[in-house]
Symmetry: C2
Subunit: 244 residues, 2 copies
DNA sequence: AAGTGGTCTAGACCACTAT
DNA sequence: TAGTGGTCTAGACCACTTT
């Protein structure tokens, strides 16, 4: 049986990680509930035979996992649950189009920017943009409807690479082509309109998620504004809090 | 003018943090776009006059910010955007009841567990539970409807402290009372039913978020199962990706 | 003064990749 | 062999809190 209360120097798992796990399991087992105070770093050094830097690294892991908090001169304490520490990932979202996904291009055309498009892409009204509509299906079942407006600039190759980035190869499977600096995302709960519900093959006014994105290039200017829509039934976000 | 390309040893900001910021700004400025490779750690040590441990710490920050990736024996590279790296928190949610919030207890009663309650709280059907309904209002406008089922155990003080934890004092403002081990959260997009829309003073079938929670004690047994409901109009989640 | 968290170093050692 | 990321140490130093 594996010893889970000592650090195995022959393990492939580094000492700082092992110690973080040991401490986390002890917290989960309720070992420090009297005041919630962990042994001091010096004590942990002696107890587990590691240097102070290694102990600190372990504590830092628990720290940014939101499991403990530290007070200089006082000690390290088990944190109670705080909703502000909770984070969700977009794994469930990207899982929607991981395998057997097919992308159907519904429409590509040049459109002149209206007030909203101009605001989002930070361009003048009536400037030409590329408007794209896509339907993503998983095993021939439509799961995602995507619309976006792209900056139209024939001289700038960022458009083509961005089109990849938005589709599977770029944004979702990764790669080292560094053409986008960053972006902002918004998640909303909406009701499907008639058009959307037809495309996603369900009843109108069904609840749905909308994930809106604005991506920017290294010149800090927007290159893409768009949104994914998926049925509420096809997606939910899960996470956990604490030391379960 | 502040020098942003050297480490200030007299600053209150530690060297590892300063270096991480320097590198992040250089990445944001597009400095490493040829191949996206950062200087080696040894080069960074010399350039900025810090030890290898300090450089590593800086790189680690960028690493878990999802900004760079490292390959052993090859180098450190600027990562392209990946949707899987995106995370969002519940700040916007907890903001809903930060100030001027009032909690109206709509109902508290003992109910016998049905199949679903029994499954969620891991108790036998017909076991008694405490059922609570609350309406949270901000400036006399209802924003959140909360329902939950609590384990009923007169001998166990966890119930009272958990009731605090779920309300403002515990889960949302924090504290060091360590009575809950952890929990699981789910975010869904739903349609308001008649009752919910009446309470939240809006039209039925409006889109809404449901945040479901199951909290567990240190014995690993559920102590609470419930959900918050809020109108889609009152809430959206925002986050960013990359080095904006 | 003693104990706490927190930063930092100079160098050793290892694993991997290029050449 | 030389360069890369990655772990670890033993101890110095600092800021803060408690006694």
């Amino acid at each position: 049986m594996k010893n889970t209360s000592e650090i195995d120097r022959d393990s492939f798992e580094p000492a700082y990680s092992q110690l973080a796990n040991i401490l986390r399991h002890q917290i989960a087992a309720g070992k420090f509930r009297e005041g919630g105070r962990l042994p001091s770093e010096a004590q942990l050094c002696k107890r587990y035979g590691v240097s102070s830097m290694t102990v600190r690294r372990s504590i830092n892991i628990l720290l940014d996992q939101g499991i403990v908090s530290t007070i200089r001169g006082k000690g390290t304490f088990v944190k109670s649950l705080k909703i502000d520490d909770v984070t969700f990932g977009l794994k469930e979202f990207s899982d929607l189009f991981k395998e057997d996904v097919s992308v159907k291009l519904l429409e590509v055309r040049i459109v002149s920017a209206d007030a909203e498009i101009g605001k989002q892409l930070e361009i003048d009204v009536d400037t030409k943009t590329i408007y794209i509509r896509r339907l993503l299906s998983n095993n021939s079942t439509p799961v995602l409807y995507h619309q976006e407006y792209l900056i139209y600039d024939p001289c700038n190759p960022i458009v083509e690479s961005e089109m990849e980035a938005i589709s599977l190869k770029g944004l979702f499977t990764g790669g080292e082509g560094t053409t986008l600096k960053g972006g902002e995302l918004i998640i909303e709960a909406i009701k499907l309109n008639k058009n959307e519900s037809q495309l996603l093959e369900c009843m109108p006014s069904e609840p749905a998620f909308r994930l809106t994105h604005v991506f920017k290039g290294f010149d800090d200017k927007p290159v893409s504004w768009g949104w994914f829509i998926c049925r509420g039934k096809d997606l939910c976000f899960r996470t956990s809090i604490g030391v379960l």
